[in-house]
């Protein structure tokens, strides 16, 4: 496979994952904002922008934080190079560029999703249609992953695509956790603080983990449980541990196909070692924020090594 094609597949699925995660975050934010007073709602929108990594871009364009401004910025504004619309356009452009490495079915679902989303985002979005658009973006992801699972050869194409998915998912979940880390300090649960449990729900919902969590913990919710769930629980497909475990498998498969391991496999092993036998106690001892910073750095180190090992650009 061409290095450029591997790069295209990797980024096609990174961009798709990013669009999807941004949509989930927005959905959770909207739910939170509409059920709170105006001041809390404004905080919520601020945090949605921050969790999407868009603070500078947003504040360069807008003064305050109103829902209408925020969701339009996140979904479609030209001044936002990482808008959902821009991400989906990247996904399609990537797919066009790797057209020979993906199946017709995968290409067609990506192309159709793109046409639909582009159409829906052609005009400013009203509150009533945010939910519909979020669902469209989530469905775009579901369809692409489904078409891939059902039709794509389990060769390099598949593994580069999956590696892109998990690198991006790990990064975005870690980013959301880091933004909310102050809500998740164990001290809060100890003192039985007045912290609004709705905030915890919101953290879970922004990674589509609320119902899975409730199911596993029989409705009991606390900070320690959430951290354990989102960082360490390998059963949850958006936890950091799951993402890295899956990424490890993809990188191992690539090494097998190429008959040799690269720098990315070595870095993956180092990251695994740091995660092995990790407990929530150890995370809190180290400091959740510090832990997450370390995790994100390791994750992007692996991504850079993949690009280097497999000659993405040179």
């Amino acid at each position: 496979m061409l290095g450029r094609t591997a790069n295209g597949l990797f980024w096609m699925f990174r961009n798709l994952e990013r669009a999807e995660n941004t949509a989930r975050l927005l959905d959770a934010g909207l739910r939170m904002a509409v059920t709170r007073d105006i001041a809390t709602a404004e905080d919520e929108w601020r945090s949605v922008i921050a969790a999407s990594g868009l603070k500078w871009a947003y504040e360069a364009e807008h003064d305050g934080y109103t829902g209408h401004q925020v969701w339009n910025f996140i979904l479609r504004e030209k001044a936002n190079p990482s808008s959902v619309l821009a991400m989906m356009e990247h996904v399609r452009t990537n797919a066009r560029g790797v057209r020979t490495a993906i199946t017709a079915e995968l290409w067609e679902v990506v192309n159709e999703s793109w046409m639909q989303i582009k159409d829906a985002l052609a005009r400013p979005v009203s509150q009533g249609s945010v939910g519909e658009i979020v669902a469209m973006v989530r469905r775009a992801g579901t369809l692409a992953h489904g078409a891939m699972a059902g039709t794509l050869l389990r060769n390099e194409s598949f593994h580069f695509a999956r590696a892109g998915t998990y690198v991006e998912r790990a990064d975005s979940v870690a980013r959301i956790l880091d933004l909310k880390y102050f809500l998740l300090l164990p001290s809060l649960s100890y003192v039985g603080s007045s912290l609004d449990k709705g905030q915890w729900d919101n953290v879970l919902r922004s990674v589509s983990g609320d119902s899975a969590y409730r199911w596993l913990h029989a409705g009991q919710i606390d900070a320690r449980g959430i951290v354990e769930f989102l960082v360490l629980d390998e059963r949850f497909p958006r936890s950091l541990a799951f993402c890295h475990s899956a990424l490890r498998d993809e990188l191992a498969a690539l090494a097998r196909i190429h008959g040799r391991e690269g720098e990315c496999n070595a870095l993956m092993r180092e990251a695994d070692m740091r995660m092995a036998d990790l407990t929530t106690e150890m995370i809190f001892e180290q400091g959740l924020h510090e832990f997450l910073l370390g995790f994100m750095a390791a994750n992007s180190g692996i991504a850079a090594a993949i690009a280097e090992d497999y000659r993405f650009v040179r």
């Binding site: 496979m1 290095g3 020979t100 046409m115 190429h258």
Partner: protein
């Protein structure tokens, strides 16, 4: 031209009856409900959009992608008609290859005085770099598109030869796919020659031209300028269908005397490059020093037998309309036979007598630039205003060498489907021809282009033309 001869209608005879080629189709068509046909017509378009069969329009926003309109009424050719056409096409394509070999070797045709040397001297498509070199297998034009027009039951003419990088074959294939998806029952009623094996035939034909340096099974790659090129869809489609790599210039480099592509496991040699970039963008060392698109040194590898480039550089000279005007002589010179497929009558404006005739009859003629393509820069006398004619007259007088003129042909028509039912529109035909040391291979049919506007003679997609599925009926 006050009394223009009536056009040849390919479906209806003069007495209104259906011609034999279309009898089975029409019988089926008449049995369908109009509302259902209308719905199917709309379905066709959404089908094309979904599959992403689009082309980018030059000079528009990069993101702008258009569909070439598709008309669902097939253009039908009988087995006997097709047999005659293929003989003419084969003859012409053999002559083109022999001509190219001669131009880049002893130039017998010029020595014999049949072709003025000026046509090479003034022509950017003629490449000094190819002189004395014979491409692998002796093949210059691996893929050729011969544009044909029809004016009567047995009157077919060659309008243009496309030996550089003929495009459109993906539409031939997708048009058939769409028809089979929309109207499966039609294909069980009417015996139509298949076209879907074209990519396999292309792959085989290209592999048969592999260079001396090939080890094992030849590695074939399609070279595209990239996703913003107007024909990118076709490049990706063909690579996909052939199981070949789709490469851009930046994926390739010259290493150890071979052209190699950057793969995830390192550099790997490419044996045959089906390039969809123009000659001048192949190699910045040999052609455009500022081009970012090419592969530095690829021409040296080519000349030393390390890679096959299809079509060979320098074949574009055959697309030149001044060369075209000599095709009857060229065919005769190399095959010793009279051309089976005639040219359209052509006046070379470089001849003083011809120029006089052209200037006197400008409002009846079609005037084309010799190096032009895609319907750009041409004058259609009968539909032009006085002002346009006057302006063109000045251009002609200032630079007569740059033009040829042809009569305004009464192109045949074939019906298209509209809200008002079937209406006749002018069509042409581009069959696709593969050349390898094993022989000449013509896929039955080709791409029918249709002028969608009433009365229009311009079928180019860049000027509002559409396409149709083309059926060659099986021998019965």
């Amino acid at each position: 031209m006050a009394e223009r001869q009536a056009n040849f209608d390919e479906m209806h005879a003069e007495d209104g009856s259906i011609r034999p080629a279309y009898s089975e189709y029409c019988e089926w068509h008449d049995g369908q409900e109009t509302a259902w046909l209308r719905r199917k017509h709309a379905d066709c378009e959404s089908n094309f959009r979904k599959t992403g069969i689009t082309f980018n329009v030059y000079g528009e926003d990069e993101a702008e992608e258009r569909l070439i309109p598709f008309d669902m009424v097939p253009r039908v050719i009988t087995a006997a008609e097709w047999r005659r056409l293929t003989r003419g096409i084969e003859q012409r394509v053999s002559a083109l290859n022999a001509f190219l070999y001669d131009l880049y070797h002893r130039q017998e045709i010029i020595r014999s005085g049949r072709l003025p040397v000026r046509l090479l001297r003034d022509n950017a498509a003629w490449l000094q770099q190819m002189v004395g070199f014979t491409p692998p297998g002796g093949v210059y034009t691996h893929i050729v598109g011969i544009d044909l027009v029809r004016t009567g039951p047995n009157d077919w003419f060659v309008l243009e030869d496309n030996a550089r990088t003929p495009s459109g074959v993906s539409y031939m294939l997708e048009n058939r796919e769409t028809m089979m998806a929309m109207f499966p029952e039609l294909f069980s009623k009417v015996p139509v020659e298949p076209v879907s094996n074209y990519p396999r035939r292309l792959a085989k034909s290209l592999a048969a031209c592999a260079p001396a340096a090939t080890k094992g099974k030849p590695n074939v790659a399609v070279l595209t300028p990239g996703i913003y090129n107007s024909a990118y869809f076709e490049h990706a489609f063909l690579a996909d269908q052939m199981g070949a790599e789709l490469v851009e210039g930046s994926d390739l480099r010259v290493k150890d005397g071979r052209v190699q592509m950057r793969c995830t496991r390192g550099y790997q040699p490419v044996d045959v490059i089906y390039r969809r970039v123009d000659d001048e963008y192949l190699d910045p060392l040999s052609f455009h020093p500022d081009s970012m698109l090419g592969v530095p040194g690829i021409m040296d590898v080519y000349r030393s037998g390390g890679v096959t480039i299809a079509n060979a550089p320098g074949t574009g000279i055959c697309d030149d309309k001044a060369i075209y005007s000599f095709m009857p002589e060229i065919v005769e010179f190399y095959t010793g036979e009279k051309p089976l497929l005639p040219n359209v009558e052509t006046w070379r404006c470089s001849d003083e007598d011809s120029l006089g005739h052209v200037l006197d009859n400008l409002d009846e003629l079609v005037v084309k630039e010799v190096h032009g393509s895609g319907g750009y820069g041409m004058l259609i006398g009968p539909t032009s205003s006085k002002k346009e004619l006057a302006e063109f007259r000045k251009k002609l007088q200032a630079n007569p060498h740059n033009y040829i003129a042809q009569p305004t042909l009464s192109l045949s028509t074939c019906p298209i489907f509209t809200k008002k039912g079937l209406v006749p529109r002018h069509v042409d035909l581009r069959p696709y021809v593969l050349v390898s040391p094993d022989g000449i291979d013509i896929t039955p049919g080709g791409l029918t282009r249709v002028a969608l506007k009433e009365g229009s003679l311009v079928v180019n997609s860049s000027q509002g033309g559409g396409t149709k599925d083309t059926w060659v009926l099986k021998e019965t």
